[in-house]
Symmetry: C2
Subunit: 238 residues, 2 copies
């Protein structure tokens, strides 16, 4: 709050391009936060713990991020940007390219499962985060859709992936919480009335239906098929 006399003299590099003094950086903070999330999960991340992890006063973080949600936004952007669709091969069949993209998206989300609730309905809003979006849209466009239908299709496919991965993660978490004890399916089977739940009872009886990944695979394939059949206008094979 002092008047601040501005440049006592050349004394300091007048136009150094970067201050280059940090010690604490946005990036180092993000890295430390990711380390905590990797180790203990997102729900264990606190500003104070993060300060400790960085060997720094927790309040220092507030100089680099206005608050915790801004920090969380940054963490989510890291995950979003880790989706790399640059290896997409335009030579392959449309269905394959889309399925591949869905898997890559899925794997990126699975890498930070505890972040998933926080990511909920979020769409990427930065250049690196949008790159895979562009790729996805272009695949749809190349298959014969209008840009608008391609955008919608991309959005629908992304919604499915997020929803499916969320259930995948939650189910796995439930399974390991259940531990040794009887699977939830068999537990329910004993309770459900076959009169009111004739179909569910039959599913439970097999007890071991599909694994999460197989379910994801089938869902993604069906959705892709439906999207292509619905929005690709009839045209010659080239």
């Amino acid at each position: 709050m002092t008047p601040r006399k501005k440049t006592a003299q050349t004394a300091k590099p007048p136009k150094s391009v970067k201050p280059a003094k940090p010690g604490l950086t946005r990036d180092s903070i993000i890295a430390a936060a990711m380390a905590i999330i990797d180790r203990d999960g997102y729900e264990e991340l606190s500003m104070r713990k993060l300060g400790k992890e960085l060997g720094v006063n927790p309040m220092s973080i507030y100089y680099h991020f206005p608050n915790k949600v801004a920090l969380t936004d940054a963490l989510i952007e890291v995950v979003m940007s880790s989706i790399d669709l640059s290896l997409d091969d335009p030579g392959r069949a449309t269905e394959e390219r889309l399925l591949n993209a869905a898997y890559i998206y899925r794997n990126a989300l699975l890498a930070y499962p505890t972040l998933i609730p926080a990511m909920a309905g979020r769409a990427p809003r930065t250049i690196p985060g949008l790159r895979p979006v562009e790729v996805l849209i272009s695949i749809f466009v190349e298959s014969g859709m209008t840009v608008d239908d391609a955008f919608t299709s991309m959005s629908v496919l992304a919604s499915f992936v997020r929803g499916a991965v969320a259930r995948e993660v939650y189910t796995e978490l439930e399974l390991q919480n259940a531990g040794q004890q009887e699977s939830f399916a068999t537990a329910l089977a004993g309770i459900l009335s076959p009169v009111e739940f004739p179909n569910l009872v039959k599913v439970d009886a097999r007890c071991e239906y599909l694994g999460s990944e197989a379910m994801f695979d089938r869902g993604a394939r069906a959705l892709i098929r439906g999207l292509l059949e619905t929005y690709v206008s009839e045209k010659e094979e080239d």
Copy 2:
């Protein structure tokens, strides 16, 4: 507000089927929590605020629920159980029945948008919560699927609905935060290079693509179509 000693006669019913003394009930706690969520959103729900809402010591709640996640589980069950598919009409076309079910699921989730992150990948685990699941499976079965494929299809459709609704809610929230200022789409359009983002730039140029509900509709239809075409074995029309 007077103490009101409640029939001093008979001393006390020795074997009354229910204690019937509560004052504080699981149900009254749940109702109060829902009221807070309605008013301020789930993120504002705390045990202490809930105590105040009930006019009771916050710690009393711990007699009825072991902790906050157990309470949250109960709240989620309320939402899950509010999904009422009992009006499903087996006379209508399969696609219509499924689309209708998807909409009902969607509307139930939209009623408590702030609860959505907490609901993430959750599947219902109580009788009333499972009723709509049974209905959905039966629709697929009646259309000609095996029980297992029907289960998978139901699960896939549910994943899509949750994913789509999550994005819907988040997008709406972003829009109202943006308020008067230029829409995100147009803001991005100025930033994105048409060389790197040829398709996205075109989408943004129109600026106003589809609304959330229209997107949901198209996604649900495409997914339903894909599921039916993929898993309904060829058979005569009856």
